[in-house]
Amino acid sequence: MKSNYRKIGDFIQQVNTKNADGSIELLLGVNLDKVFINSVANTIGTDMTKYKVIKKGQFGCKLMSVGRDKKLPISRLVDYEKAIISSAYYVFEVVDENILNPEYLMMWFLRPESDRYLWFQSGGDVRGRITWDDLCQLPIKVPSIEKQREIVKEYNSIINRIKLNETLNHKLEDTAQALYKHWFVDFEFPINLCHLERSREVSIESLNNIDYSKGYKSSGGKMVYNEELDMEIPEGWEDTKLSELLEVKYGKDYKHLEAGDIPLYGSGGIMGYYNKALYEKPSILIPRKGSLDNILFVDEPFWSVDTMFYTIIKEESYINYLFQFLKKIDYYSLNVGSAVPSMTTKVLNDISIILPLPKILERYENLTSKMFRIVKQNDRQNFILVELASTILSKMSKVETKTVEV
């Protein structure tokens, strides 16, 4: 039979080195996203000399639950020189990197079709395992080494761009957070904003003593004691209850919903996509049970499960301020649950919040909403880039290769 597919077994070899002298301590595992992670296994009292050594550039994979997970946990070590890995893993390397580029091979494993093929092979085993031989049977297209490098380069530039966007987003979120702290915790907001304020009284006297080159507090802006908040706040600022600014609502059971493209949020984040929205306007989600500090900002229609509160924002122009405020709260100290950390609407409604002068808030919202618009754009860009990356992976099956006799 003629085929232009080869078998990966022709290009790889197992490496079986034990951590005999126990010198390596970094213990890794591979997850289903095909990424190395620090092992969470309890190793107290375990003999670490039985573990396998994996070196930079080598692959580690686990064959025992491919049938159940429908995925092969596999990754190539790049971030560390050496690590150890449980003996349940197979460690292997490419025999000749001038024939098969290891990064190209890793890309081949990232294709969902490789997972599906290996899952298909797991059918005969009672627990859905595959054997090393099954793995070696995986068909692969191997074009010239130059072509392989070209494909790897294309793919990496997409992946790098995704990472860049992610970093950008983190930085933008950090900036919004830093600005919040600077203005509303340290009260170092730009002093000239006070002049713009007309709705409330600010004494002429306090304005006269101000050093305009610094922030409000360090330039001597007047601070007054607020009883409710038990702290000094800038003159003219007020306190209020959270319930005045937003309404906390219970999420709802989603079991009757059908699949769709509206995100479903639980306290851990997006749990799936369904056909109906519980609320359509921008909202802040607050976990009711579980990881209480996972506060989320959503500005598209969504559904939230009954362990996740959603909020109706009464003052929409305060939303970024509210989001940063809610993120800073130590929910675990307010926890009302015993075994599972829990939150109630009463606790949330009763939280006191500083109400800055409207002009200052308006400026904060204005600046941060520009940042968040970019965050959102980057997210959308990444969504497309991920699709582009997976298109490049699936195109690997169509690459031109020489036909060989098998």
Binding site: R116, Y117, F120, D125, V126, Q381, T391
Partner: protein, 522 residues
């Protein structure tokens, strides 16, 4: 604002009954409780049928035969004496000695009706020490089952089956082995079509295979009188369940004189069955001692199955009991498809003896008791060309002695009870039709990638007699069918838009930093 009352889903009778019966469980173990509930349902049903027959006799002016057992037995009705009637139990439901009264009732029914020998729980209720008020409330719940309401509906059968499956789910891992999920049994029945002759199940559990065979015959307008039933069950309580389960549906069966181990104490040594359906225990260890059963006639012509796993013991037990045209459909753990040693030798001979007709790998999570992967085997003693009239339909089987049909059903099925999978009616029809088409007409039959493949014996020899379906069934790389150009064009349009927006927002962002006094120089 007035709140709208939530619309509640209408519960079926089975569900309502289960909910109320289960509420009354109290401290009784789920595995024990099934005998309580199912025993009482049996008594209620037997009693209702008795009363109905009795009324018929009165209506026909045959009062003088009212207490003659024969006048009931001829209609498959059990004759009940005064103290074993449901009305008597209910009248005494609030008494302290109700448990004893139930035991007496069950004992008397069994004593007066030979076909129920060994079927009913024996002194069970008195030993259980159930709270009297709970027992009374349970009796009340069961009293509400109108067993005769709709003859066509088989209410009792439905309730019984529902309870069996719910108990199997409740007992979960390691237990609940008395029950094989209904859709699998259905599939086996549709595959082997047990219309006529002797049906045998060497590990019959609660008798589900027989019940399903009867339903199969019913739904295809066959005649239930054309089949006779043989079974065997090892666990004493399950043996009783089977007897009750069959009695309640009026199915006559020979389950052997006693509950017994099929290997050590075969209850049907001379049986030649036309249809065998079974779900024997998976991967049973130490099923025989090393020096036991070495020259058992059931292994004749084959190696003696290894002591470490009973799978091939079960296979050979069934093969030895197949009639000349007999067909067997049974479930085994996947390991049997490729096991080595004596398993390999036996499998090789089964294949070379042209017995293996089809192998079907099932999805995970079909069983309530385990999540291991299992396979349906279809063995056929006569794969030669022949013409048969089955249920008034002429079938022309082609010669397929040199072929085996493989199925991979791991991606078939629909969710059931949240964490389980079952086959839908459409799934079953499609699978059965594929097998039947292949058996009769090789022209219409087509191999379907990732679903089915007709392998030749030569193919199987090349794979060293492995019966793992994925070794034969074709896998299709879906990437090869993607239209790369279309995909890229749509991505190109979307990305162009995004990059334009990006350019604009970048200017904005630079302004933000400038405004804050931290201008960015690029």
């Amino acid at each position: 604002m007035a709140k709208k009352a939530a619309v509640k889903k209408q519960k079926s009778i089975e569900e309502t009954l289960w909910d109320s019966a289960n509420k009354l469980r109290g401290t009784v173990e789920s595995s024990e409780y099934k005998h309580v509930v199912l025993g009482l349902i049996f008594l209620k049903f037997a009693s209702d049928k008795f009363q109905k027959r009795r009324q018929e006799l009165i209506d026909d002016g045959k009062e003088r035969f009212l207490d003659m057992v024969e006048f009931y037995a001829q209609d498959n009705v059990f004759y009940l004496t005064e103290e074993s009637r449901w009305s008597y139990i209910i009248a005494n439901a609030k008494q302290d000695d109700i448990a004893l009264k139930i035991d007496t009732a069950l004992y008397t029914v069994e004593k007066n009706n030979p076909s129920l020998k060994g079927a009913l729980p024996d002194n069970y209720f008195s030993r259980l020490n159930m709270d009297v008020s709970k027992l009374a409330a349970l009796l009340d719940t069961i009293n509400n089952i109108d067993t005769l309401k709709d003859q066509q509906q088989d209410i009792v059968g439905r309730v019984y089956e529902y309870f069996l499956s719910k108990f199997a789910i409740a007992e979960g891992k390691g237990k609940g082995e008395f029950y094989t999920p209904k859709s699998i049994v259905n599939l086996i029945a549709e595959l082997i079509e047990p219309y006529k002759g002797k049906i045998y199940d060497p590990a019959c559990g609660s008798g589900g295979m027989f019940v399903q065979s009867m339903k199969f015959i019913d739904s295809h307008n066959g005649n239930k009188k054309d089949v006779s039933i043989y079974g065997q069950e090892y666990t004493a309580t399950t043996y009783k369940l089977a007897k009750m389960n069959l009695a309640i549906r009026g199915i006559a069966a020979n389950l052997g004189d006693v509950p017994a181990d099929t290997f050590a104490k075969d209850q049907h040594p001379d049986l030649k069955a036309d249809y065998i359906m079974a779900n024997p225990p998976f991967n049973q260890k130490d099923w025989r001692a090393a020096d036991e059963l070495l020259d058992d006639p059931r292994w004749r012509g084959y190696e003696v199955p290894q002591t470490g796993n009973a799978n091939y013991g079960w296979i050979l037990n069934m093969v030895s009991k197949l009639s000349d045209n007999g067909v067997a459909g049974f479930i085994l753990a996947n390991g049997a498809l490729s096991g080595g040693g004596t398993e390999y030798e036996i499998r090789k001979k089964l294949i070379e003896n042209k017995l293996v007709e089809a192998i079907l790998v099932l999805p995970q999570n079909m069983f309530y008791t385990t999540n291991i992967s299992v396979t349906i085997w279809i063995l056929n003693n006569n794969k030669k060309e022949r013409q048969v009239k089955i249920n008034d339909v002429e079938k022309t089987y082609r010669n397929r002695e040199d072929e085996i049909l493989f199925f991979d059903l791991r991606e078939t099925g629909v969710p059931f009870e949240k964490k389980f999978i079952q086959f839908s009616t459409d799934n079953i029809e499609n699978i059965a039709e594929t097998l039947h088409t292949w058996q009769q007409d090789s022209g219409t039959y087509k191999n379907i990638p990732e679903f089915c493949y007709s392998a030749t014996l030569e193919d199987v020899r090349k794979k060293d007699y492995s019966l793992v379906p994925s070794k034969y069934i074709e896998f299709v790389n879906r990437d090869e069918n993607i239209n790369f150009d279309d995909k890229m064009k749509s991505l190109q349009t979307e990305f162009a838009e995004l990059l334009k927006e990006e350019a604009q927002s970048k200017t904005e962002l630079l302004n933000v930093f400038k405004e804050l006094g931290y201008e960015i120089e690029l």
